[in-house]
Symmetry: D2
Subunit: 475 residues, 4 copies
């Protein structure tokens, strides 16, 4: 998801002690924040580990509920400034940044609610004679120290999804923000503390990559939560200390299948939203659209017409609909991938060019080769590809052909096609008559195969950060 | 759990093409079986992967139910020969081997039952306006190709716990048995096929360690199920292909806390069973017993009295209560650890000596040093340690002090002590007035911290081997 | 459902002490069985109540499992004779009677399985400060003495659905069969006893109606399970003793909506099955079919063509597809209702006449008045009505217009119509492209509004027959 | 629970058209409110029924959530005036009335939360061949029009427990308050409307008893929720229209068993709270205490010492600990019952006399006869009975001997006694080392046997007010 980090791990293992945060559109300086050095992280981990080991120091549920409710109120009160921060440091258009803040509030409230659902079960023991004469039940306990490493594309809400569940589940947590968007994260951690969370239960740790890796792989870490690129995620899993659990949320190359009965008029706004929201910098962004061969061109054109009208600009301008990519280097990359596709025979329907140092025009490609980068790797930029198909089975096969699988969608009016797509698409979620980026925060949200590990969504994350303890009492 | 493999990974990376299976008591030759070479495994993986990718080839639930029910019947019919096999190749006394077969039957039936519980949930979407106007529900799908690698100590039942859930969940599976006990595994796989499972859905792959590692880390593997030593397990996790999930079941150094109100008479048979069953070769074997200082010696003596009466011998003899360790080298290791403890001040209450090439006397040690190997590492042999304590809080701290945590127990008549132990012991299961090795097959069974990853128990494993797919239909 | 009892309660409150069971086709004598007098029932209730009150006398789960598994085996072994009995005393064609036996076996096995799911839950108590410092969990207990009163149309399987869950849940049970089909019930109770159930845990009580009512309304009864007519069911509820719970399963007037996109060819066999299975003597029998106005006649004709080919005869003849109605008086009633509809303008497409004393020709009516008995009351005979509609909303309104609501169905290829029907049809189950009588035994099966109370289906019934007990331990 | 209504049904079937609300301590006039006549109720029912029948008019979940959250905020803002109202019209001491308001707020918030849990389940259909080839899932729908009839003893919180779940579940609701405490109810309904609930979705209907009965038994009512006396409740059930479901919450005669190991000092404050809170006008009030024979007198004396210190007075005085009974006639009744017990040999340890027209002294009786009214019927007044026992089994038998069963408790330090009591006490909840009146609003709260029907507790009530709809789509 976080392509910048994806491409740069090796070269930038030395971040300066101060992190300069800039507006990604014009690189305007926003603020500098100090990075945290290993010695401090070591202390944080040590304190967190000690807190966790003594269950009598755990924060009771009613206090966790109270802290999270207070947190939601504080975010509400600062909604405007947080939305501006998201737009300013993250390049997400203000209108969308405001929605992100609303979702963050909902997410924190959801965490407070779900605490009541961290329940165990009673287990009947007399199902065999060997087990008879016992009472048994399970309870949920926090899993231990959580380290969360986040991505830039939802600078506030991803943090909420990674940190608030840890607090809700009763785990001490250290959170490393994306390098480009630390300010929203810091604001959230500050709010948690202001809401009554003792500071040692949640630490903000902007740090360089080697330090980050040292933290992630420390044996005191019980759970590692990562949102970012698949390559980094799986690499980090391989380095985790024995005993450390993890959840990884990576990206996909989301496929959409349009069946012949679909209502084309109705779907275009949905696909535009799904493809160009946040300039495509979303892990479930619409990237590959399969349409009946005789309709593919027309559909591509309708999308292109819509895409061409999108206002590209600085995210902090009210009228901006598509902001910059997170770094100029990302624009280079997208440019290169599109050019590669065009050179290999793709038809450019709209866009296809850089608009400035930090922006790329919303782009629609028709029939790029199936082995082009734009067809096989996550673009994470404002580029949508349209492919024609003869037989819907081929389209499904194509949709399923990559090592990545996240959300997918089908547009159809036909019941049989809908149920076929639901059954046959290899995806964690199949949207019928909606774009692939649809999400509500209480639904499971996960990547399959290499697209992720374990399940996101507030309640699901809280369960991942909890563990069962069984009590068996012999009568 | 599988200490042999634990200590020998590096040196024995070349298993001969034929595996000679022997009785571990007297090394009497039983049978030779061919190992499977990589080329065949590669084909198995390829076929399994293809089967899985086409959901129209999946085995419908009613057929899976039918195959598993038939399997249970076939095992019942061959219960005697399977029990003998377990005793003969695995060194588990016949009486216990018969119980293992019964549990295996129950386990397979449980798999058949639990298929009905692989259900998804409907998800209300109108909890926010953004989600309104949609119907959504999840279903369970098989996760993909499973590779199971097993341990020697329950040669049939562990295989049942790893393979039958895969079949039940609808996953193709390749299973590698422990090197010492492949025959029970092979018998089970043959029975599955005889019960109607197409051979390509379950492959028996006795192979050498490098080949095994190649198989485990192959990207076509969706799920890796491992029962064995923690060291090997976590090492293998670090080598898994991106996208491969896993479950690990390792061992512990199970603690028992005896509180002053406990009924000592009543607990001795339970502790003897928990400590010396299968000569302690169980991952939740009673190893560390904490007793009030003024009772520790007496308790150790009562245990010693019982231990001294246990009949040690060849597992296939009806009268044997403790069989051999799985390999002579294991006896060497146990001998060395006990000698180390004695040299460091432990008091020998009974046992403490080798009885033959393959057997070690049931042993009770009093007050071995807390940093001795017998106090900190899994013995996987017939050795129980007793420690005195002044304050029960110290006992709990000691019990919780290792990087391993699995099942624990407390003996008490006092309600407050029972609930305190349930809350404070760091364990996946706290037994009250029962030994740590208590288990029924429908309960969750898992190691915490470095003792394991994910949860065992039939239903839990089936859920690990399944994944959710959500359908969201826009109205 | 049981129309005979429906119409005859008042007049036949004196059943002779011996019940003569006959074949409903030709009234051939089968067997006489004695009815049970109140004194015996009083003793049964008293014993059952005493058994229940002492929880130390309850049958442990593993024994209940074992008894039920044995029961399933015994039914399997006697499948042929039971199927013949069902056909002979109940008039259900042999081929269908055999399916009923298979379902009975599955049902008993399902009961055995579901025992493992009678679990409680742990409840977190520290969600407020007032609740903190406590451990709490619930368990399931049997609810007490069950009295089951059954219907004739599935003489074995309904008994299984009412009695086996009681045994599974741990409740003593008294069962009164339908007057016309006591032999299958008696056979089942005998099998339960043979399988090891102590006789006092399940009593067969064929009795007259006043005695039955005395039993049902006795204060020692904790749960009353009734399958039969709505009129009787709700009347009995009103007479239950304070504290007695109940489940009622009555009939409906099942509606089917055919939308214009539906595949007519494909649906005819399904509708014939749904409408004429067991001569329509099923509580979810297809009764009202709403079709687009321009297709209604053609659809009615296709149904008529199929209906006319059905072989009507004695259920014990292999070739019979439609057997007799349960009593000649029922044929009178159906005759009268159809005649009334015809007189009021309905078009007769096929059938419409009595074939003998006990049989009525499979009948299709077109456009009977909406207020005719055939349009508003449960026919429980081989009569299907077809109505044309202009607007699907009207069809849905008609479908929803009665005080009865059970299963409904829609035939369509259109996704929007399918989801609309799912949302708007007032039914416990909406079948898409299937007839209303579809059922599997693990799904919830229930009447809404006046069609029933509580939910049928093995697991659901077991839960109704269980109650929660919570334990709250203050730390 | 509502003893007044209990005793007066027959005589006061004509309530004047205006209801005069008074302070029960001194009968000081508070306010008059008009009663609602049948014609209006008929219109309310008709509108509610129409609203319900058209699912397109249902209030979407996000609006229900929003209305309930707003409701909670409004209650918070008016907490003081509501607490005063509760004390003034209901006679509950201010300090307790404030707690009731807090619980009401929590209850409304809980309803808002639990909406997210009104989920159905996906049901696998291919468990048999007959079901294969289908997708099925259930959803939750509101059950229809709810009529709630409430009791006086928690004038706000009971209304919350009956009305807010109906709104949350999506049901239109008519609520009849207790005759003595309509003002809190009216305030709550007004707040709901102010929070955005359209008035036709919730109607306040203070009415006389015949009108109330007409409303309750109307066939348009889908669900009847009743809190009050068992006698009235079960009588009303017998009169419900066919198809109407119900939940009844009555009282008990709550037993406490003190075992010899119990910490007597520690339990006295708990028992005083459980016995004299709201002058015992609570359905789970501590009424029968069984103590070891040699400790019974001492325990009774300790309770008496505490009881004698309780400040009895007008509930609106800050210092009052025990308020009046709801009506002078109730004091007459309590007086009579205690006198009867004393005449039959009970020993008076404290209290035993009327303090004024509306108050009765907190009373402790030792060894009243087991068949006295105070031992067998719900006192609903400030009277606690202590009985000595020789054998704990006898105490349990006594505790279980009535037709009523609700919450029970045991005081012990002994683990075996605790588990024995949990198993053997016939109660919906067994409190260990806590009084019987302990409750948190998310736990199940229910009467067994004649003490109630269905389960209270927010989430449970919401489920009772919902019904499942299954969709089965044939592929």
């Amino acid at each position: 998801m976080d392509n910048l980090e994806k491409s740069n791990v090796s070269e930038e293992n030395k971040v300066p002690e101060t992190l300069d945060v800039v507006n990604p559109y014009d690189q305007a300086y926003i603020e500098s924040i100090p990075t945290v050095m290993w010695d401090d992280i070591d202390k944080y981990l040590s304190t967190a580990h000690q807190l966790y080991k003594d269950c009598n120091q755990w924060i009771p549920a009613f206090e966790r509920v109270s802290i999270l409710k207070k947190t939601a109120v504080l975010i509400s009160e600062r909604a405007d400034e947080l939305a501006f921060l998201i737009a300013n440091e993250g390049g997400k258009p203000l209108v969308d940044a405001r929605v992100e803040v609303t979702r963050a509030i909902d997410g924190v409230e959801l965490c407070a609610k779900e605490i009541a659902k961290l329940t165990g079960t009673q287990i009947p023991m007399d199902l065999t004679q060997a087990g008879a004469g016992r009472i048994a039940f399970t309870t949920k306990e926090p899993i231990g120290v959580v380290v969360a490493v986040s991505a830039f594309n939802h600078p506030l809400n991803l943090i909420v999804h990674q940190v608030a569940p840890a607090i809700a589940a009763g785990c001490p947590v250290l959170v490393k923000p994306a390098r480009d968007t630390p300010l929203s994260c810091k604001a959230f951690v500050d709010i948690l503390h202001e809401a009554g969370l003792p500071p040692q239960w949640c630490r903000f740790v902007a740090c360089d990559i080697p330090t980050s890796e040292k933290m992630i792989t420390d044996p005191r870490v019980a759970f590692f939560s990562f949102i970012g690129s698949a390559k980094i995620g799986w690499m980090l899993r391989s380095k985790l200390a024995p005993g450390t659990r993890c959840a990884l949320e990576h990206g996909g190359v989301a496929p959409v299948i349009i069946e012949k009965s679909a209502d084309i008029e109705a779907m275009i706004p949905s696909l535009l939203k799904g493809g160009f929201y946040h300039s495509g910098q979303v892990c479930v962004s619409v990237q590959r659209i399969y349409a009946p061969k005789n309709k593919a061109k027309a559909i591509a054109q309708l999308l292109a017409d819509g895409a061409a009208k999108l206002v590209v600009g600085n995210a902090i301008d009210e009228k901006t609909e598509c902001g910059p990519l997170i770094r100029p280097k990302e624009v280079d990359r997208v440019e290169e991938w599109v050019d590669e596709a065009l050179a290999a025979g793709a038809i450019l329907v709209t866009g296809g060019k850089r608009l400035g140092e930090s922006t790329y025009a919303p782009t629609v490609l028709l029939e790029p080769p199936v082995d082009a980068k734009v067809s096989t790797m996550e673009i994470f930029g404002p580029v949508v590809c349209v492919y024609g198909y003869d037989d819907i089975n081929d389209a499904i096969d194509q949709a399923n052909s990559l090592d990545y699988a996240f959300q997918a969608s089908v547009f159809t009016k036909n019941l049989d096609v809908a149920t076929k797509a639901i059954r046959e698409l290899d995806a964690t979620a199949v949207m019928v008559n909606d774009h692939t980026a649809f999400r509500v925060d209480w639904m499971p949200f996960a990547g399959r195969k290499q697209s992720g590990y374990n399940t996101g969504g507030i309640a699901y994350t809280m369960h991942d950060m909890s563990q069962d303890k069984m009590a068996v009492i012999k009568l």
